[in-house]
């Protein structure tokens, strides 16, 4: 498999104080989805914006198709913009309220191609149809569309230039259950049709599990666990991942009284993360070492990275039996 997207080790932080994404390191293969899971303040959105160079990191290397995106010249940056797309959580806020759908979709074409008016229209209509809208929506303003339709327009804008990578930042979180399903189906269809690579950022493990090949769990700006979706859900290694899994409300009334590992306390402020392992003040398994030394993200088994001092001794399979059975 061709390495498509590479994010080499480095220290990522916004200027000065806020340490959003520290020492994150991972890679994404073409045509697959990486799910980035975390709570608010975990740095997952910052990570997404940094990958697309919409926020400048202070250091580190991001390789896209083998090229370091931090050192691109004008033409290369234009090529990079053309090859990537982004979809946000709130579809209304992500569309210019003063532009009609046609104009919203026409902008990328005008910036990056020299197609004539007719070709542009054809591409726009074709893309609209691909995302489940039609010509009749062309002249509408965003506020004249429903939330689901707005999100479809945002997706159309992201894929209209046939990009290689699309960052999806909570694309279904603000939508209703029935519409969420429509959008997830659409994203899966588009991915298999155009061999798109997704980075799917979410706080919802269930959605992440549904759409991702790989899952990366983040806590307070650090990656705590990274592996294949299956491995993360069945062979969970990090206590934080365990508590996330344990916290999601499972839509099955029979599991109401399952065993839960509930963690106390709240995520730390990104301004002032705890010393040592950032999770140790909330971790039920913390030992003295966790307060002193920050654990490195190490390959625990093949393709399974965990940042926990006790990764090799802790086994959560018994605790997660009920949840695993729900997914079986």
């Amino acid at each position: 498999m061709k390495k498509y997207f590479e994010f080499k080790k480095g220290i990522f932080s916004k200027p000065q104080y806020i340490r959003a994404v520290d020492g994150v390191s991972f890679s994404v293969n073409k045509g697959t989805t990486l799910g980035v899971v975390g709570e608010s303040g975990s740095g997952k959105t910052t990570l997404g914006l940094t990958i697309l160079r919409l926020i400048e990191p202070t250091s580190g290397i991001i390789l896209f198709n083998g090229r370091d995106i931090m050192h691109l010249n004008r033409d290369e940056l234009k090529w990079f913009r053309r090859s990537t797309g982004i979809v946000f959580q709130d579809p209304y806020s992500s569309l210019n309220p003063r532009m009609r759908v046609k104009e919203i979709l026409e902008r990328p074409l005008k910036i990056h191609t020299d197609y004539d008016e007719k070709t542009r229209s054809e591409i726009i209509v074709k893309t609209l149809e691909e995302v489940g809208l039609s010509e009749e929506h062309l002249m509408r303003y965003p506020h004249e569309l429903s939330g689901g339709q707005q999100q479809r327009v945002a997706i159309a804008r992201a894929i209209i230039l046939k990009p290689l990578l699309v960052v999806l930042d909570e694309p279904t979180s603000s939508l209703d259950v029935s519409v969420q399903a429509q959008i997830l189906n659409l994203l899966l269809d588009l991915q298999s049709k155009h061999e798109l690579t997704y980075i799917f950022i979410t706080h919802d493990l269930l959605t992440a599990r549904h759409i991702s090949d790989y899952i990366m769990v983040m806590y307070a700006g650090k990656v705590v666990e990274y592996s294949t979706t299956r491995e993360v859900f069945t062979n969970t290694k990090h206590p934080y991942t365990l508590s996330l899994l344990s916290s999601i409300p499972i839509p099955d009334p029979k599991l109401k009284s399952r065993r839960r590992i509930e963690i106390t306390g709240e995520p730390p402020s990104p301004l002032n993360p705890p010393k040592g392992c950032r999770f140790h003040p909330r971790c039920p398994y913390a030992i003295e070492m966790c307060k002193l030394k920050e654990p490195e993200l190490l390959e625990y088994s093949k393709e399974h990275f965990v940042a926990c001092h006790r990764a090799s001794e802790l086994d959560f399979t018994e605790l997660l039996k009920d949840i695993t059975s729900f997914f079986a």
């Binding site: 806020s93 210019n96 003063r98």
Partner: protein, 290 residues
Amino acid sequence: MIRLISERIKLLSNNETFKLFLTYKRGIIGLLLLSLMVFLALTADFIAPKKFDEVDPSSRLLPPSIKYLFGTDHLGRDVFSRVIYGARIALWVGLLVVLVEAGIGVPLGLLAGFYGGRVDKFISAITDLIWAFPPIVLALAIVTILGPGLTNVVVAVAVVSWAPYTRVVRAKTLSIISREFIIAARAIGESSFSIMLRYILPNTLPPIIVLATLTIPSAILYTTALSFLGFGAQPPTPDWGLMLSEGRDYIFKAPWCCVFPGLFITLTALSFNLLGDALREVLDPKLRYG
């Protein structure tokens, strides 16, 4: 800019914002008054019984009558005709001042809000400086340098009062710039210029329009004041301020020379204020359904 405004008006007429506007009585009164002024200004050549500079020494300072609706002035000119022609000047001046003000203030506000940092500090400092100056004094100083004349007055008034536009546009830009559609625009490769022009500017239009309706009356008042002081329009121009100034000497003998121009100044200013108030509430979504 004009295209955008006309687009905005087109948008108004067929959506519910317009319907909402119709629920504001003040706004409708303002709009009717303003329409009357515009109508007078446009049709002055047809409805004015006399030419504005038609002197008739035999009928000086006559009180209002059927023949001279608003009476005549010290040169025997028909005050009614002069007031009607005056509407043309007042509206034209008001519009011109606002265009010049917005032309200076809006780009500065956009730049300050968009780039922030040093650019913002520099622009904000100038804005504050202009704001802190008593406008009429500064305008007087500028007209003294430029020399009297209506065009110079327009320039002077605009130069002293663009600061509110910069402030409003800067604040609005700051609130828009963190919205996701701006990040999305960057992500598709839009240039900074394009983002300002296509994404931010159109979204700052509602407050600009409100501000314009609220600054036109003060622009009219300033220019009439300058004309009154003799710096603006020169005789025999039927400028309301100039008419006030000329009628001043006869205020007890022939009050109509001052009353009618004064009344029209007030009505015009009032019409814009009423309209502006209503627009502010209509165009501000936060106040809707409240």
